[in-house]
């Protein structure tokens, strides 16, 4: 016969140890907003798409294609709104990788793409990055805070990538460096796209 105290101790131990399961582990000690800001940096596919889009837009110069950044902003807001509404995406992973490959290849090509392609790339990236950022296990105010944080994060990281690419696109060797980065991003995506396709 196990004494009551031992059972209580065991129950307490079992109750304390389990942790909530998260698709992307939130950073401890931060509220939902800041976790949302960091969310794009915790998902490898998101980092690559933000990098590819930022390099692509920055390579041409944000001033020359003024619609690209607003298109990203509006599309991200739309994608996040759908994610917040609980429209759970299942097949977005492949689309993110396909988009990253295409935008990475355009960056690697290094030539001036037709102007409408820049806002199109921005809108594609913004929408699917937002759509793929459903805050899990959060409701009400916390869920909204996480979504707003993710929106701020997505735009912030894109502007950083864009600004760096714009700054480092003045000299010929810098432009080659951007093309090399674009080819690395595209190559990484091609491989995982192949893995995704072969595992289906």
């Amino acid at each position: 016969m196990i004494p009551k105290a031992a059972l209580l101790f065991l129950a307490a131990t079992l109750g304390v140890l389990p942790a909530a399961a998260h698709a992307h582990s939130p950073v401890e000690g931060m509220n939902e907003f800041y976790n949302g800001v960091l969310h794009p940096l915790l998902v490898p596919a998101h980092i690559l798409l933000i990098l590819a889009t930022g390099l692509f837009i920055g390579q041409r110069g944000p001033r020359e294609n003024r619609l690209a950044l607003p298109a990203f902003f509006l599309a991200a807001a739309a994608g996040l709104a759908l994610a917040g509404a609980g429209v759970a995406p299942d097949t977005v992973g492949g689309l993110l990788l396909a988009g990253t490959t295409a935008i990475g290849l355009l960056t690697a090509a290094g030539r001036r793409a037709p102007l409408p392609l820049y806002p199109a790339a921005g809108a594609f990236a913004g929408f699917f990055l937002g759509f793929d950022s459903t805050p899990e296990a959060l409701d009400g105010r916390e869920r909204i805070l996480a979504l707003v944080g993710t929106g701020v994060g997505l735009n912030l990281w894109l502007i950083y990538a864009c600004g760096i690419a714009d700054f480092f696109s003045k000299k010929p060797w810098q432009r080659v460096g951007l093309r090399i980065l674009g080819s690395w991003v595209a190559a990484s995506s091609i491989l995982v796209l192949a893995l995704t396709a072969s595992s289906r």
Binding site: L10, T13, P44, S183, W184, A187, L191, V192, A194
Partner: protein, 195 residues
């Protein structure tokens, strides 16, 4: 009472125990580091990638900048074939031959037309990519692993290009051609199994 304490104590220890890992290759960081290190631990990969950079430097503009842009993309296509399970005969022999041929090109200061150089490098890129691609399904984070090994390969090219910039000077050209000869010899060693 002693039995009860033993049972509770054992359960408690079981609950707090964590798995012992020989290598902490988990998650994004683990996958990235694994990918980054994978090309560096195979000497056949290392010398061939450096030879690509050295040859690019010898060939001059635009090859010096074209190779590091095109090589990762062709390598990724080879990797995709590896991931898809498409068989490629004699992968290891192809990688060893890449060191021999590319090293010889540097040693001889060969200057074929750009398209011919691209075809030679592209064929070998497929072999290198295929070898990396077959490792991908076992990676902790495939995307992080592939980003790691693409960056690592690119950095090896850039190392070769940086060394190849010494070709501006006469003594540098001699040293680089000697390096190419050493890489070709290493390729012979890989092919024959001596190395």
């Amino acid at each position: 009472m002693t039995l009860t304490r033993t049972i509770v104590g054992t359960l408690f220890l079981l609950l707090i125990a964590e798995a012992a890992l020989a290598h902490e290759a988990e998650g994004f960081a683990g996958g990235f580091v694994s990918g980054l290190l994978h090309p560096l631990f195979g000497w056949d990969h290392v010398v061939a990638m450096i030879a690509v950079g050295l040859w690019g430097a010898f060939l001059g503009v635009p090859a010096i900048w074209l190779l590091p842009v095109v090589f990762p993309l062709v390598m990724a296509c080879g990797g995709a074939a590896g991931v898809a399970g498409l068989p490629l005969p004699a992968v290891e022999a192809g990688i060893a031959a890449s060191a021999l041929v590319l090293g010889a090109m540097v040693a001889l200061a060969a200057r074929p037309p750009l398209w011919a150089a691209a075809v030679i490098v592209g064929v070998f890129a497929v072999f290198h990519g295929h070898a990396h691609g077959t490792e991908l399904p076992h990676a902790a984070s495939p995307l992080a692993y592939s980003a790691g090994f693409v960056i690592s390969t690119g950095l090896l090219h850039l190392s070769g290009i940086a060394l190849g910039l010494g070709a501006r000077w006469r003594a540098g050209r001699v040293a680089i051609r000697a390096g190419g000869g050493a890489i070709a010899l290493a390729g012979v060693g890989f092919l024959t199994g001596v190395l």
